[in-house]
């Protein structure tokens, strides 16, 4: 029987890792990810898993060890946040370039400077072009389930790309909430045995990892990564459907919450989707036609499906918890791209909010919806919660 436990987002991810039982977990502590590595280390010490946990001296080493372990043929996982991901950056690209199915939980936290431990998405958005699959999670339950789904997606023969699973630092990572932990046996069966693609330790069939392809072959390797991302787009749904049979929850590219007849829609990632739902429930009782499009899969980005979901909406606000300084913010940019081919499309309002953990209240969201319903949409970015 599945068990309802009180877990934080971090603990929920550690619980997923326990059930996945990876071969190797190299990790380095960083707020607010630390509780993942800490909780998992306890599982290792208690003998609940037979993972080789490597206490590395930095995140650069954590990802390097993941790359080594994964190339050797091990199922490797790690977790990080903010500066940790930034320090890892070089090897993050190596992992995807070598097509190693590593799964990493990123607990979103603002990048320095100025130093800040709280949530925004500048860390994971900073490596959205590094050929990692990116899945964003609203709550602890999703972070738990996405982590399980990620392993299957990464290891799929037609994909073989690393996957990042995001959740909001502190807001979900340190919030204690109801988490339905699924049966170990079912997850074990779902995950299955890892059959690596040409591992280094298969000494009867030796291969070279990381050769030097210059003008002659680098381009072709990148073309393969594009192809793998296209495959991931389809396979994400297949694996999601399989997981649905166990969890009874859906894993589409995005969640549409009361959008069917909506006039105004908010598009957002992670925990703010939850707060938006609460506001929608209240406003719907007052007869206001508002809805939410919560993006789950950010890489590969589901352009066509998003266009289809938004085509009949009159007004939409896209909320970004990071900026692309000097260009359209990451989520807004993708949503706007999605709508290009439509002849009839919603008017868009871009909003930037929550940088460095600045709170976003239900009132903020309600006010935004009210503005949208009035058709109050501007091509200027709105900064929610900023001290003007």
């Amino acid at each position: 029987m599945p068990e309802i436990k009180a877990l934080t987002g971090d603990q929920a991810v550690a619980e997923a890792m326990k059930q996945i039982n990876p071969d190797v977990v190299p990790a380095y502590p960083i707020t607010p990810q630390t509780e993942i590595a800490m909780t998992f280390a306890k599982f290792v010490a208690d003998g609940d898993v037979d993972t080789e946990m490597i206490r590395v001296e930095s995140e650069h080493s954590a990802m390097s060890a993941c790359v080594g372990a994964s190339a050797a043929g091990a199922r490797a996982m790690t977790a990080t946040s903010s500066a940790g991901l930034a320090l890892m950056w070089e090897i993050v690209g190596v992992a995807s370039g070598l097509r190693l199915p590593i799964v990493m939980n990123v607990v979103n936290r603002a990048l320095s400077a100025p130093i800040n431990i709280h949530c925004d998405h500048s860390d994971s958005m900073g490596c959205r072009d590094l050929s990692w699959i990116q899945i964003y999670s609203e709550d602890a339950q999703e972070a738990y389930e996405h982590t399980i789904l990620a392993v299957r997606l990464a290891e799929n023969k037609k994909v073989l790309l690393p996957v990042m699973v995001m959740q909001d630092g502190f807001i979900t990572s340190h919030s204690l909430e109801n988490v339905e932990v699924l049966e170990d046996s079912k997850i074990k069966k779902f995950i299955g045995e890892y059959k690596p693609h040409k591992p280094l330790l298969d000494i009867k069939n030796p291969v070279t990892y990381g050769p030097l392809p210059l003008q002659n072959a680098y381009f072709e390797m990148k073309r393969q990564q594009i192809d793998a991302m296209e495959n991931a787009h389809k396979i994400f749904l297949d694996i999601g459907e399989e997981l649905s049979k166990i969890t009874k929850r859906k894993y589409y590219y995005f969640e549409e919450y009361k959008t069917k007849d909506a006039k105004a829609v908010i598009v957002v990632l992670n925990s703010t989707a939850g707060t938006t739902k609460a506001v929608i429930d209240r406003m719907r009782q007052e007869g206001k036609k508002v809805g939410l499009l919560k993006i789950r899969l950010f890489r590969p980005f589901p352009y066509k499906e998003v266009a289809n979901a938004l085509k009949d909406i009159k007004f939409a606000a896209v909320l970004d918890r990071s900026d692309s300084f000097g260009a359209n913010a990451p989520l807004y940019s993708e949503i706007k791209n999605s709508l290009y081919d439509l002849t009839k499309r919603p008017k868009l309002q871009n909003c930037i909010f929550g940088l460095g953990g600045r709170d976003i209240s239900e009132d903020d969201i309600e006010k935004l919806f009210s503005d949208l319903l009035k058709g109050n949409v501007s091509d200027k970015v709105k900064f929610i919660g900023l001290n003007e």
């Binding site: 309802i4 009180a6 431990i117 709280h118 909001d168 502190f170 807001i171 979900t172 340190h174 919030s175 204690l176 909430e177 109801n178 925990s271 703010t272 939850g274 707060t275 739902k277 609460a278 506001v279 429930d281 709170d359 976003i360 209240s361 239900e362």
Partner: protein, 187 residues
């Protein structure tokens, strides 16, 4: 009636405000309720003013917005009154529970709060029973009685589950006693 019961707990770092918020929601979860508990993260130091929050509901809780209008505020350390705005966001329908040996009328005067004020001498209870100033558990006893939707029994079980291995049977029994005393003596 709000769907979600929202609680804010004021204390000082090390007094167990966060632990109290977790115990109360975990006990509620055991009763089949939906819960969320989260502390206010900042530069935590022992002795610095801290706050912890809890949401309890019969329906799923989606919101991650900060709690700005709590239904109940628990003040574990009454020396905070005056320099921390403990009644912030409390409406007159709200409830304030303070750890103090003084009468609730005195607390009303001090906080200028117009709603219901309850007091319990949690510090005294914990010093008598546990030999230490660990008032958070007695405060939870008081909270359970006033909130009236979480059972004392599930909180007792939670304490047993959390403490038995750590501090042994005798101390666990004393801790549960301090919970019950808080429940009985709040006024």
């Amino acid at each position: 009636m709000k769907d979600i019961l929202e609680i804010r707990i004021h204390g000082r770092g090390g007094q167990g405000a966060k632990t109290a918020s977790q115990f109360i929601v975990e006990a509620a979860l055991d009763q089949g309720k939906y819960i969320k508990a989260f502390p206010e993260y900042g530069p935590e130091r022992r002795g610095a003013p801290v706050a912890a929050f809890a949401r309890i509901s019969d329906k799923p809780i989606h919101t991650y917005a900060p709690i700005t209008n709590p239904d109940i505020v628990l003040v574990i350390d009454n020396t905070l009154i005056g320099f921390v705005d403990v009644t912030k966001g409390l409406t007159n329908k709200g409830i304030l529970i303070v750890n103090t040996c003084e009468e609730s009328s005195k607390m009303k005067e001090k906080t200028k709060f117009k709603g219901n004020v309850y007091t319990v001498d949690a510090t005294n209870i914990s010093i008598k029973l546990l030999g230490k100033n660990l008032p958070n558990i007695s405060m939870l006893g008081a909270l359970v009685k006033i909130a009236n939707n979480i059972s004392l029994e599930s909180l007792k079980n939670k304490i047993k589950e959390k403490f038995l291995k750590k501090i042994g049977e005798e101390k666990t029994e004393k801790t549960i006693e301090s919970l019950i005393k808080g429940y009985d003596e709040v006024r």
